[in-house]
């Protein structure tokens, strides 16, 4: 029984050990709130959309007909509308955003860079409804005038008549997809344009920050080899920053997928299949905004909530894929 005497821990150490534990528990509790909110959201969305999912199964998300009168609900057009508007807006906005980030971070003198950077960020602070109004009152008339100009040519009118027959039979071709089906400027194209402007600041400000964070020695290494400024940007700066820029792109995509009010105001709220770039369409979020108030019957209401559930999982999926891609693109040795 000759256990060696252990030195007693100092009282101070015991105290700090106890306060550490308290703090740990507190942090754990606060962090659990986030998990709790997530789980509750899924539960509530699932419960509310259960009647629709029980009626239509997972086919709800692949079925094309959405008709509250006959009680048939299929969300395929909204899923497609969401993906088309978001991805098209992304394709349009990413080059603009990266170019503006390069201008602010690499080309503009300081007195110009800061105000321009600030203005771009300010775009993110403009409320959705203001973008919607701007689109309706300023951009839509411009598109409308272009559409009317299109019909002024008799040859185009013939094309239109041919396309309309096709559309009425529920089909479209590549040519007809670009033929206007309306005169008021509202529709898919306007939604894409407005989304492009709305998501621009997210990619642009993230890209600007990561471009500024590219170490000076990377630039100098490329300059020292005899590179021009553009070669330094394209071969040293952009590759180094690509994972971070993609992070900004994903942020913008998340924003585009979920953008509700501005899109609901301009997209034309048509649940038919998308026939023309200029025609009406709808996204999952815009249908929720436009129909939730009127959805009286259980099945209609539940179908609208099921759209929300689908949108939720779509966002989770996009974020997950984004993480995988970013992790693959991040060069080793960069955190």
């Amino acid at each position: 029984m000759s256990e060696p005497l252990r030195p007693r821990p100092a009282p101070r150490a015991a105290l700090s050990g106890r306060s550490d534990r308290t703090f740990q528990l507190l942090i754990l509790a606060l962090a659990s709130v986030i998990v709790g909110v997530f789980v509750l959201s899924v539960y509530q969305l699932g419960r509310e959309s259960w009647p629709a999912l029980r009626e239509f199964g997972l086919g709800f998300y692949t079925e094309r007909t959405w008709n509250p009168v006959t009680g048939q609900f299929g969300a395929a057009q909204m899923v497609i509308g969401t993906l088309v508007t978001s991805l098209a807006a992304l394709v349009l906005s990413v080059p603009l955003a990266v170019a503006s980030a390069l201008f602010v971070a690499e080309y503009a003198p300081k007195w110009l860079a800061n105000p321009v950077g600030y203005l771009i960020e300010l775009l993110a602070a403009v409320p959705s409804v203001v973008y919607g109004l701007w689109a309706l009152f300023v951009v839509a008339p411009i598109l409308g005038r272009w559409q009317q100009g299109f019909f002024a040519d008799p040859a185009n009118l013939q094309v239109y008549t041919r396309c309309q027959d096709l559309w009425n039979s529920g089909q479209t071709t590549l040519q007809c997809f670009f033929v206007p089906s309306a005169f008021d400027g509202r529709g898919l194209a306007l939604a894409i344009l407005i989304l492009t402007v709305m998501i621009l600041p997210y990619t642009a400000s993230v890209a600007r920050d990561v471009i500024r964070l590219v170490p000076q020695d990377q630039r100098e290494a490329m300059y020292a080899l005899g590179a021009t400024k553009w070669e330094v940007i394209s071969r040293a700066i952009l590759p180094y920053a690509r994972a971070g820029i993609l992070g900004g792109v994903i942020l913008a995509l998340g924003r585009a997928l979920g953008e509700t009010l501005a899109v609901a105001m301009v997209i034309g709220d048509s649940q038919d299949i998308i026939k023309s770039l200029w025609g009406g369409a709808s996204t999952m979020a815009s249908v929720i905004a436009n129909q939730f108030g009127d959805a009286q019957e259980t099945l209609h209401r539940s179908s609208v909530v099921a759209l929300g559930l689908g949108l939720f999982f779509l966002s989770v999926l996009v974020n997950f894929l984004a993480r995988v891609v970013i992790a693959r693109l991040t060069p080793r040795g960069i955190q």
Partner: protein, 253 residues
């Protein structure tokens, strides 16, 4: 002696109102290793960077005087900085390989800037440059792997290979071993003697013993002035200026 490869005539460098280098005159012979020594902030790195026109990138920096490389004034009006940098290589304080490129792509990145696309030619230059940097045997089986997978010392030799690939007339080294362990430092010092056959080296070093070991000439900078320039043995054993003597004997710095 032939005409010097590099001549600096009355070179002064300002950052805004602050003068960092004052009226330096210096010439460098072909096929030699030349060390710039001096305490921190003495202007040696600032002077080195002027020889690659790196100050063009710093707003507010101004270089006056003449720096003549092989008969051509680098700062004459109409001289293209990009073309000048192709003739002068540079190795930096911290190894800075391009992290998104493979070992191979790093080595040939300068060559690709000049429009060379031929695989065989790129491969040939990559092997020659990597051998020149004493790295070939270590990386020949992983040319396609990311450059950041190499150790710090290997990365710095990779940066030397990258600079050598474009066959620079002059290779500038800015404290190339200050971030490395003693073994890696020794390898790079060994390398420099061999490199004299293919290029001329101007190296900034904090480490006086390094200067004494590797260089043919040594220039001592203090507070922006070039205090003394001479054959390395002479500078270290019988300096002409008492400030040089105080520095090389370790009384300050």
């Amino acid at each position: 002696m032939s005409t010097p490869l590099l001549t600096a005539q009355d070179v002064s460098i300002h950052y805004g109102d602050k003068q960092a280098v004052r009226g330096v005159n210096l010439s460098i012979e072909r096929g030699t290793v030349n060390a710039l020594i001096g305490p921190s902030g003495c202007g040696k790195t600032t002077f080195l960077r002027a020889i690659n026109r790196m100050h063009d990138l710093t707003p507010g920096a101004r270089v006056t005087g003449r720096i003549v490389l092989d008969g051509e004034d680098m700062y004459a009006p109409g001289v293209d900085a990009v073309a000048m940098r192709r003739r002068v290589g540079m190795v930096f304080q911290k190894p800075n390989p391009f992290p998104t490129m493979s070992v191979f792509d790093n080595v040939v990145s300068g060559l690709k800037l000049t429009g060379v696309r031929d695989r065989a030619r790129l491969m040939e230059v990559a092997e020659r440059s990597l051998r020149g940097a004493a790295l070939w045997d270590e990386v020949k089986d992983r040319l396609k792997t990311p450059a950041t997978g190499l150790s710090g010392g290997q990365q710095q030799r990779l940066c030397i290979a990258r600079a050598l690939a474009v066959e620079p007339e002059l290779l500038l080294m800015d404290e190339p071993t200050s971030a490395l362990d003693p073994a890696s430092t020794a390898r790079i010092e060994d390398l420099m003697t061999g490199l004299k056959k293919v290029t001329t080296i101007l190296i900034v070093t904090h480490n006086m013993h390094q200067a004494a070991r590797v260089s043919d000439t040594t220039s001592f900078f203090l507070n922006g002035d070039l205090v003394e320039h001479g054959v390395t043995d002479q500078v270290f054993t019988s300096p002409r200026d008492e400030r040089t003597e105080a520095y090389v004997t370790g009384r300050f710095g």
